[in-house]
């Protein structure tokens, strides 16, 4: 009985926590091609057509990367860049950019 209870707890915990907890230090190393366009720390894009990533919500960033991977979100440049990213890479990159500071904030 306690074995079943333990299994149930493990199942619940694994369903309610993200698959990968992002590592921002690893993300920084993986972010070189991102910062080429989105600027240092993702906070100073080279074109105003590109979004500021620094300080954005972590799980919004990972959602966006996954949508570029699936083709649900379409952008020729991003499609090529995200193609080879693993789920761990996505989580690390999202953790890194979310940890950077910028002027980005929630509307008042």
């Amino acid at each position: 009985m306690s074995f079943i209870k333990t299994l149930a707890i493990i199942a619940i915990v694994s369903l309610t926590t993200p698959v990968w907890a992002g590592d921002k230090t690893a993300g920084e190393e993986k972010a070189v091609s991102c910062t080429a366009c989105h600027g240092a720390g993702g906070g100073a894009p080279i074109s105003p057509q590109y979004p500021i990533l620094a300080g954005q919500h972590e799980n919004y960033l990972s959602q966006a990367l996954m949508q570029y991977q699936s083709g649900e979100r379409k952008n020729m440049i991003m499609a090529g860049l995200v193609a080879a990213l693993s789920a761990e890479d996505v989580a690390d990159l999202a953790a890194y950019f979310a940890s950077q500071s910028s002027a980005l904030r929630t509307l008042d």
Partner: protein
């Protein structure tokens, strides 16, 4: 020489277009962006199915916001709520809202 002048005229034309395209009225945008606050004005507000926090928009680049709103409007970027929000926006509305958000979005 006329070739060079023609190129100059084309470059000037393009510059003119891109500048006028990027004009938005912050004050008009402030009023038009009130609906945005329902989700983007609540710190940590979650999108559901799938669950993720709705993005922070204040201080974002204006031209990116214009591109994003147009992509929602056309359906190229799929999100049911954002599509219905963007569907009735004119090009001017989008420019105004984007200008307001990029300016910091303070009500």
């Amino acid at each position: 020489m006329t070739g060079l002048l023609r190129v100059c005229a084309m470059v000037c034309g393009l510059l003119f277009f891109s500048i006028s395209y990027a004009e938005g009225d912050i004050e008009a945008g402030r009023i038009k962006a009130e609906t945005c606050l329902g989700c983007h004005g609540i710190d940590g507000y979650n999108n559901v199915y799938p669950t993720y926090k709705v993005p922070k928009l204040a201080g974002q680049n204006m031209e990116y916001l214009v591109i994003a709103l147009n992509a929602y409007k056309s359906g190229e970027r799929s999100h049911p709520t954002m599509r219905s929000q963007a569907a009735t926006l004119s090009a001017q509305d989008i420019d105004d809202i984007a200008a307001f958000l990029a300016s910091g979005g303070e009500q």
